[in-house]
Structure formats: C-alpha cells, structure tokens
C-alpha cells in the first residue's frame, strides 16, 4: 500500500528536502501541498509533480495517511490540530514545535487524545556522526558524562525567521531546540535550569541573533550552547553543529557537518565547502513513513521531545531578561 502524504506550507525551506524525500520513497506518494502563499505552493506542486490545494480542508479531505507541517512557527499548532482533527495517522511538525510551552503542550495533548502520532523534525538525530557519538557515549567510552559543550550557529536568515510575530523568536528559539534534543539523547536527563546571554548586534534587528545558553541537567551535568547567527555572508558553508562530550574517561568531539570538499571557484572568486556527508532528511522521512504505517520508530523525535526542547529555549529568554539562571519548570508554568 502506498501512504498518502501531504505537506502543509513551504514557508520553512526544509519542506523542499522533505518533499524530495517523500517523492523518492517507493512506499509513499506526495498527494498534495497546501501553502498560504499560493504562488509558492503552486511552484512547489509543479516541482514535486503533485497538486496544489488552496484550501487546507480540501487537501485534508483527500484521505491522507500523514501530514508534514512546515509553516511559519506560529501556525504550527493550527495546522497540526487541523490535520489531527481530519484523522491523519501521523504528523511531522517542523521545529520548533511551537512558540509557547502552552501551545506545544496543547498540540501534544490534542494529538494524543485523537490517537494521532505527533513527531518533531529533529533531523540531527539521524546524522551518522551523531549516531556514532551516541553509541560511544552509551557504551561508556567517555565514562561518566560530566559536561557537554555544544554549538549550532548559522548565517542570518531573512524573511519570517526574523519576524517575531511569525517565528516566536530568533537564534535562540531557532537553534536551541536542535542541540537541546541531542543533549536529551546523550544524557536522558531533563534540564533543571537555564542561563542565557542574548543579544541582537549582528543584524541589529528586533529578533535576537546571539544566544549563549548554559543548561544545568538533573544530576549535575552542565552544558553550554552557542546558538548565534554569527556566520558572515561569505562563510564557506551555512553554519555548524558541534558537540564536545566530556567524561571521566575522556572527551569526544563531534562536528556533524565536517565531511566537506573545499571548493575554490576561480570565476566567482569564492571558496566554499561542499558537504558529502549523509543527508539526514531521507532517513528521518523514512522513519516518519514507518510511523504513519503504524510501525515503531524509536529514533524519531516525538511531540514530547519537541515540547521538552521548546521549554529549554523559552526558559533562556526568561533568564536573559533576569540575568540569572531560571528553573525550567518555573519558566514553563509562567507561560
């Protein structure tokens, strides 16, 4: 049987990679796309040889098995709940799951009440370098884990990413969730407290572009995380995801996007890195299709995983405003 999948919004550029992965998967069909931007939606429908629907409801009436939501962050909840209401079996929602803890919690509960499986798009989980790191840490290669130093930086995005009304936040919300999720896998512990220094001096925009978090985990492990949009325009690649795990028996450094060719384009006068590492979206989409088919997908991030990461990111804003660490649960309750 072929799973019928639809994509709701291409506002987030990752949607294109998901569309390609769905289209390439022999067990699934991309039966339609919806987008609030009709021109973009039609162009994407043409590109991936599917049908554009100007109405979400009309697309949801096509007997979908699964839905992918990749809209602007503030619309995640509405689209996820609409898809769940329509009776899809599974939903993959782009990160961050939501822009408030209350909304993220509501989405998780809404789906659970209707027996719809909610997944969060955390593709870094599928990085072979991260998987190897995780396996080594879990097998005790570094002994007892004491600290983690993470970084997920990028170039400044534009468009709705820097419009708080649509994104809910800047670099901190955008990048914290990835790294917080990887820490969760490495540690299996909840964050107890978050401290953050935040700034907006790279772009001088309303949205923060600088984020340095310190996260204290239950059991005393500490971690820092640089989420800044600090890569200049001519940086040879989009950004990075790096993790240093420090334990009683040693240290492992992971650089998830290190597998690059260095390319010097004489005509353009530029140098760039061309990544030849394994893409992560194909495996994540394959897992999402398994989830849609009712199979177990232990690697795929759940809605709860997405919620946990959002909680940490939002606590960072509270801490930055206060200049002191803030307990994660306390921040969540104030939401």
């Amino acid at each position: 049987m072929t799973l019928k999948i639809a994509i709701f919004s291409f506002a987030h550029m990752h949607a294109q990679s998901y569309a390609a992965a769905i289209a390439a998967n022999s067990g699934a069909a991309l039966v339609g796309v919806w987008d609030a931007d009709a021109a973009r939606g039609q162009a994407m429908a043409d590109l991936y040889k599917t049908t554009f629907y100007a109405s979400e409801r009309e697309l949801l009436a096509q007997g979908l098995d699964g839905a992918v939501v990749a809209s602007e962050n503030v619309h995640h909840r509405r689209l996820v709940e609409m898809a769940a209401e329509a009776g899809v079996k599974a939903i993959l929602c782009e990160k961050p799951l939501a822009t408030t803890v209350a909304n993220a919690r509501a989405m998780v509960d809404y789906c659970a009440a209707r027996n719809v499986k909610l997944a969060t798009a955390f593709p870094c989980r599928y990085s072979p370098a991260f998987q190897s790191l995780l396996q080594k840490v879990q097998s005790g290669a570094v002994g007892k884990v004491l600290a983690i130093r993470g970084a997920n930086r990028g170039k400044a995005p534009g468009g709705w990413f820097v419009d708080k009304a649509l994104s809910g936040g800047g670099a901190v919300l955008d990048h914290t969730v990835h790294a917080a999720d990887l820490n969760w896998l490495l540690l299996g512990r909840n964050a107890a407290e978050v401290y953050a220094e935040i700034g907006s001096e790279f772009q001088h925009a309303a949205c923060e572009d600088t984020g340095f978090l310190t996260i204290n985990y239950d059991g005393g492990v500490f971690a820092t995380l640089d989420t800044s949009w600090s890569r200049p325009k001519n940086y040879p690649t989009w950004g990075d995801v790096t993790i240093q795990v420090v334990g009683t028996e040693g240290v492992i450094d992971a650089d998830l996007f290190a597998q690059n060719l260095v390319c010097y384009d004489g005509a353009a006068g530029t140098a760039s890195w061309s990544n030849w590492g394994s893409g992560t979206d194909t495996e994540m989409i394959a897992d999402f299709l398994r989830l849609t088919a009712g199979e177990d997908t232990p690697r795929l991030a759940t809605g709860e995983d997405g919620l946990r990461a959002v909680q940490i990111a939002l606590t960072a804003y509270e801490s930055a405003a206060m200049g002191q660490p803030v307990p994660v649960a306390a921040a969540a309750m104030r939401d």
């Binding site: 600290a147 001096e201 340095f212 800044s228």
Partner: protein, 330 residues
C-alpha cells in the same frame, strides 16, 4: 647594561624562563632560589635563602616563578628590596593579596610586570591586531578554548590538584584567556560559569569549565577550559563581528606533524609541532618586552593592575561555579 636576574622557583615555568634569560642579550641569571637544590643548580647559581641571594647576587630583576601561594611573599620582599619584578600569573588566589602586591610595588616605586604570556602568543597577538584593524567590524561573540590533560608534575607534590592553592584551571589556565579577552575587548561586566571545581570526586584528576562573559561593549564571550583532555594540547579561538569572522584552531595550523613507528612496531601517535623562531617564542617575547620597558623607562606592557583585573574575572567565575548564580563586576 646587562640586567642581572634572580629567578625564584625553578619548576616548570622557572625552567622556561631560565632558558630564555640565558639566550637573551643584555640579561643573565645571577641567582636561583628553589628548595630543590638540583633544580636550582640546573637553572643557574643556586642560593639557599632570600637574603643571601639578594645580598650576594645583586639582581636588578626578580623573576617570580613559584607556585601561586608564594607570589605575595616574594613580590613584597622584592619590592622592599627595590628590585624590578616579573611575577608569573595568576597573581594570587585572592584580591586582597593582589591589592597588597599592588600597594607594595607602588610604595617601592619599582617596575612590575605579570606573566600574561598569551598576549605574546603570535596567533593571539595577530588576532588582537586584526580586531583592532577592524577586520570583523564590531566584535559580538568571542569564543576561546584551552584544552589539555591534568597538569603532571612528574611525581612531585601536585599543588594544581589542591583547589585552595591553584584555583583549578579557571584561575591557573583560562585566566590567560580572561586577560587576553579583557585586553582585546574591554571590561567584563557579568560572569556565569559551570565547572568541576569543588566537586571532590573528580577534581584532582579532572577539571573542566565553561565560562560565559558579558562585556561592557555588549559582546558575549565563552571560554572553555579543560584539564580533561588526555594527552595533547589544543587551543581554539573565534571572533565573530558584524562585518566578519576570525577563526583559529591549533590542530589545523601546526606546520609539522610526525607519525613515527614505535619500537614495538605498534602504531605511533601523531605529534604536531608549531615552532617559532627563538626570539619570537612568546615566553622570550614577554621577558624581552619587560627588559625593553626597563631600558627605555616605559611602563611594563602588562601591569599588576591588569593581572588583578584578570584575577577578578577568574574569581568571579569560581564564585559563580560555587553559588550557581551570575556574578556582576563593577
């Protein structure tokens, strides 16, 4: 004239200094004080006590390379004796001691310099020049990392393992970063840190700290200090500004890397090397800069006040580790 140097402490750093003093035109080691007579003799003419050292060797410069807890005593003695003072970092474990040393030096009116040698490391000196030249525009995020194994004194009593004496890597090692950061990016206003300092089950064999700094300029700094990296030594530096980025990684800039067969036939370990011309060695450079300042009657390029300010940042980081709160510096 030839500057006559008395070396106090012939341990790891004293040995390095002795080598450079001996290579420097216009300077000579005239006396060494160290409770380990063999070590003292290896570095120069050995003396049994301070008074004999001063009266017989008649030094112009007293170079203090003792463990941190002895700095104040020798700075005060050297100042009272009217000698020019070079004192290793960290200046002290406490601000009270720092202030006492500053007062002693001021009262005696002697020139004094502190060994914040990172300013003379060519990659850090070059990065400072690039920042000053506006290469990155306004600096906004700065990251440094200094990663090594736990200090090994080869069987001698390891004072590094006693947090009360050494202050761990926050006070002993990444103090270098704090000084260089303050020198390059200006005053620090807030410090938040996590680390293994004070965790008895690990400290002594491991230390690791992650320190976040807020500068008066609005920039944010992040310093990694590790004595948890078995073998090897690595530093990284990154300065991101609103008009550019500077990156440095010692692992990626070593011009030499040897991988040799071991005697048993097992695989060797790659040993990278980043050599500098003898007179561009950072330790030579800092001592030469002190001599240059003395010769030209200029203020020493790294003052004890600078050392006090770097210490204040390090102590704030230790306080943050202990209290779990951020520490505001006025």
């Amino acid at each position: 004239m030839t500057y006559r140097v008395a070396l106090i402490g012939a341990g790891t750093m004293g040995d390095v200094h002795a080598r450079h003093w001996n290579a420097m035109p216009g300077a000579e080691i005239v006396g060494v004080l160290d409770p380990r007579a063999d070590a003292a003799r290896a570095a120069g003419p050995a003396f049994a006590d301070w008074d004999t050292l001063i009266s017989q060797s008649k030094p112009d410069i007293v170079d203090i390379c003792t463990p941190t807890p002895f700095h104040r005593e020798y700075v005060e003695k050297a100042a009272a004796a009217g000698k020019a003072i070079f004192v290793e970092k960290p200046l002290s474990r406490s601000i009270e001691d720092c202030d006492a040393m500053l007062a002693a030096v001021e009262k005696a009116g002697v020139p004094a310099m502190s060994g914040h040698v990172l300013r003379y490391f060519p990659e850090f000196a070059a990065a400072k020049r690039a920042v000053d030249a506006g290469t990155v525009g306004k600096p906004i995020t700065i990251r440094t990392a200094r990663m090594a194994g736990f200090p090994d004194l080869g069987g001698r009593p390891n004072w590094y393992a006693d947090p009360a004496q050494s202050g761990g890597l926050v006070l002993d090692m990444i103090l270098h970063d704090f000084d260089w950061l303050r020198w390059t990016f200006g005053p620090v206003t807030r410090v938040f840190a996590k680390g293994l300092y004070g965790q008895e089950e690990y400290f002594g064999d491991l230390d690791y700290a992650l320190v976040t700094l807020r500068f008066a300029s609005g920039a944010v700094g992040h310093v990694t200090g590790s004595w948890a990296h078995p073998g090897g030594f690595r530093t990284t530096l990154e300065i991101a500004g609103d008009a550019g980025l500077i990156e440095h990684d010692s692992d990626r800039s070593a011009p030499l890397s040897a991988m040799l067969k071991t005697k048993g036939g097992a695989g060797g370990v790659a040993v990278p090397e980043s050599p500098m011309a003898p007179t561009e060695d950072p330790y030579y450079q800092e001592l030469a800069a002190f001599v240059h300042a003395l010769q030209n009657n200029l203020p020493p390029p790294v003052t004890l006040q600078d050392a006090r300010e770097a210490t204040r940042i390090a102590l704030a980081a230790l306080e943050s580790i202990e209290t779990g709160k951020s520490v505001t510096l006025s």
